[in-house]
Amino acid sequence: MIVDSDTTKLLIETVARRVMASAQELTELDRAIGDGDHGINMERGFEAVLAQVDQLAAQGLANALIGVGTTLVLKVGGASGPLYGTLFMALGKAWPAEATREQVTEALARALEAVKARGKSDLGQKTMLDVLGPVLAVVREGGQDLPSRLRTTAAAAASATVPMKAIRGRASFLGERSIGHMDPGARSSALLVEAVADVMEGRF
């Protein structure tokens, strides 16, 4: 699989627009258990990404991913900047020129490790990792209907953060009171995965 520049552009646009369209929802989730800025921060970051989509797409997917990451680091503010920035940068650095599913799995796994290191976090702590982990497992499995399984898995994994108690991030200050709310980072990660799945299926 080689992702051409048109598809790269489409991927970036779809992901950016999806996040921006959900800014209000992300902010409301974050208001419940964080500092209420996740939506506006992600919106600012992806607006900046969208503004340079042509330059990014022209560099090929690997460099485009690195460029998206760098932009998020500089523009998002808040912890989600370096966390999502690290995800995209690490994915771009590990992205193979002619990607087989095995190689994409490997690149995604490395990106997840980078996010874990950046956030000093792991699965089960009510974070974006609780979506990205199960999504990685589906990519590793491969098989039929990958886009729809990615979408279903991401949504279910985000919902599964509701009963979790936050161990990392601002929500961890709330302890038990963080239980009963969806993690905003898990939700934004699910949005990214859904947008990618839509592009894979030609629905956008």
Binding site: D35, D37, V73, G78, R170
Partner: protein, 130 residues
């Protein structure tokens, strides 16, 4: 040029960062290179990597720089900023696990005595319970 370790204050709030810097200045005057920043790239509460890089530059000392942060995002963004520094500087900047105001004042007092980066960090971190 000061030969002392520099201090950087990174808060979500520009007011907290500025106020903490004022307290540091009152303690140590101009003996310690000092940088501070607060607020996200849009001007709201938060932290941002570019501003942190500029604050590190402002407080740069060949002896190194100790960063004091408030909440999680300030720490994560500071670590990101450190990784974006030129390699030769990267190993000479540390984030202290300490309360921002007390940590900055204690770290700066230690730095003003000419102590090395390790000692400055340790002094700030002694304030952290447990």
């Amino acid at each position: 040029m000061s030969g002392n370790v520099g201090i950087v204050i990174v808060s979500h709030s520009p007011d907290v960062a500025r106020g903490t810097a004022d307290m540091v200045r009152q303690m140590v005057g101009q003996e310690v290179p000092l940088g501070w920043c607060g607020g996200d790239p849009g001007g709201g509460l938060g932290t941002n990597v570019e501003a942190i890089l500029a604050a590190i530059q402002a407080a740069w000392s060949e002896q190194g720089v100790a960063i004091l942060v408030d909440l999680g995002g300030a720490e994560t963004n500071s670590e990101m900023a450190i990784e974006m520094l030129p390699e030769i500087r990267r190993g000479r900047v540390v984030v202290c696990n300490a309360p921002i105001v007390e940590g900055a004042v204690m770290a700066a007092t230690e730095a003003a005595s000419g102590a090395p980066l390790d000692a400055v960090r340790r002094t700030a971190e002694e304030l952290t319970p447990g």
